[in-house]
């Protein structure tokens, strides 16, 4: 196990360059590729749930259309705008770190974390409505207004998919908060932007998944 000093100052005195890379570009490329491999596994993780959605959307098509009327479009629309905007601020933060404007970048990252909080707050309001109405998964489903085959399955998928997405939002907020703090403290003042870029990629993926969840649950 190498010490941190060796990792950050490995390559012949070049800051941030590990000794097994010959230059920073190669190291950044490897880090990016690793992150994309991880994101591919995330795509497949959500892919399994999307497959389940497709199966039950096909089996209980009328019920799913009726149940999606119970999910309020405006909450989903606001959350879509919130996430898209937070993606913009993360992309801009990466941009400003590369142009050595760390303070600006840190504030943009903090704004992204705040957007994540807004997203979760709105989601919490929605969840409260659904729980109070008895729109719940499986045998806990007790909503009298819609009694049809597969109604409980809609809510199983709704809570599973938005819930797993919500967990990703929480993790992304944690990562971005740490990166924002380090950026503010000047850790990336020299233009070394890989940590900002990779945490940004994760946040963009969270946005990407919501882009598909929104029409499937709110707009069908």
């Amino acid at each position: 196990m190498r010490t941190e000093a060796e990792v950050t100052h490995g390559g012949e005195g070049v800051p941030h360059l590990a000794h097994h890379y010959s230059n920073l570009e190669m190291q950044a490329h490897a880090a990016r590729l690793g992150m994309w491999l991880f994101l591919a596994t995330e795509v497949l993780l959500f892919g399994g749930l999307f497959t389940a959605y497709v199966v039950y959307r096909y089996t209980f098509s009328d019920t799913f259309v009726a149940a999606s009327k119970l999910v309020e479009t405006h909450y989903g629309a606001i959350n879509t705008v919130v996430l898209i905007t937070s993606s913009l601020t993360v992309a801009l933060a990466h941009h400003f770190v590369e142009h050595r404007q760390s303070r600006k970048a840190a504030l943009l990252l903090a704004a992204s974390v705040f957007a994540g909080l807004v997203f979760l707050g709105i989601k919490a309001i929605e969840y409260t409505h659904h729980i109070e109405a008895g729109e719940l998964p499986g045998r806990y489903y007790s909503y009298e207004g819609l009694q049809a085959h597969g109604a409980a399955m809609f809510w199983s998928l709704y809570f599973l998919m938005t819930g797993l997405h919500g967990i990703h939002v929480i993790i992304g907020m944690g990562v971005l908060a740490v990166i924002a703090f380090r950026t503010w403290r000047g850790a990336y003042d020299d233009g070394y932007s890989t940590p900002v870029e990779l945490s940004g990629l994760y946040w963009h993926l969270v946005d990407l998944i919501w882009i598909f969840l929104f029409p499937l649950f709110y707009l069908i």
Binding site: G11, V14, L17, Y21, S22, N23, L24, E25, M26, H29, R32, L33, W36, L37, L39, A40, T41, V43, L44, G47, G48, F50, T51, V54, V55, Y58, T59, F60, T63, T73, A77, T80, V81, I84, S87, L88, V90, A91, L92, H95, E98, Y141, E144, Q147, A148, H149, G150, A151, A152, G200, H204, D207, L208, I211, F212, F214, P215, L216, L219, I220
Partner: protein, 160 residues
């Protein structure tokens, strides 16, 4: 031996560094426009049944492409990173595509009880119809009395 300035994928890094911030704002506005468009096509106008879903998904794919290409820089970073995402998407398409083919071409009674097949189901609940009708929901039409003359025989010890 280690030469920090050796040009490995140097072009890509430089290209990202020279993107102006205005590009991100343009993509953001485009994403907002497509969001408004998808809400309008779903709620503002009436598109007949299978098509409204396809329109919604097509817009979602365009939005996702904008995010992946410009926010996630796949437009500027070539080669392997694109290949990783494309590979994941190919296998996702196989997973969803083949599963849908299976469900859509099945003998209808092997699907869970739904609006299309419930009237062909044997009177439940027994081992042949494990998906019970939801509480307070509609019972299959044949289960009231008709089960005595037609329908599948009750399994010994199966029904309650």
């Amino acid at each position: 031996m280690a030469n920090p300035s050796a040009p490995v994928s140097h072009d890509e890094e430089e290209r990202v560094r020279h993107i102006s911030a205005s590009r991100y704002y343009v993509v953001w506005v485009a994403l907002l426009v497509f969001t408004a468009l998808t809400i309008f096509t779903a709620r503002g106008v009436h598109i007949p049944s299978p098509w409204h879903l396809l329109v919604g998904l097509a817009i979602a794919v365009v939005k996702a492409a904008l995010v992946a290409l410009f926010f996630m820089h796949l437009w500027d970073h070539g080669g392997t990173t694109r290949l990783v995402l494309v590979t994941a998407l190919v296998f996702l398409a196989l997973l969803i595509g083949i599963t849908v083919l299976d469900n859509a071409t099945r003998f209808e009674l092997s699907n869970p009880v739904n609006d299309r097949n419930e009237r062909f189901m044997p009177p439940g609940p027994d081992i042949l119809s494990p998906m019970a009708v939801p509480r307070g929901g509609r019972l299959p039409e044949r289960s009231q009395g008709a089960g005595e003359t037609g329908g599948a025989p009750a399994r010994p010890g199966g029904g309650h």
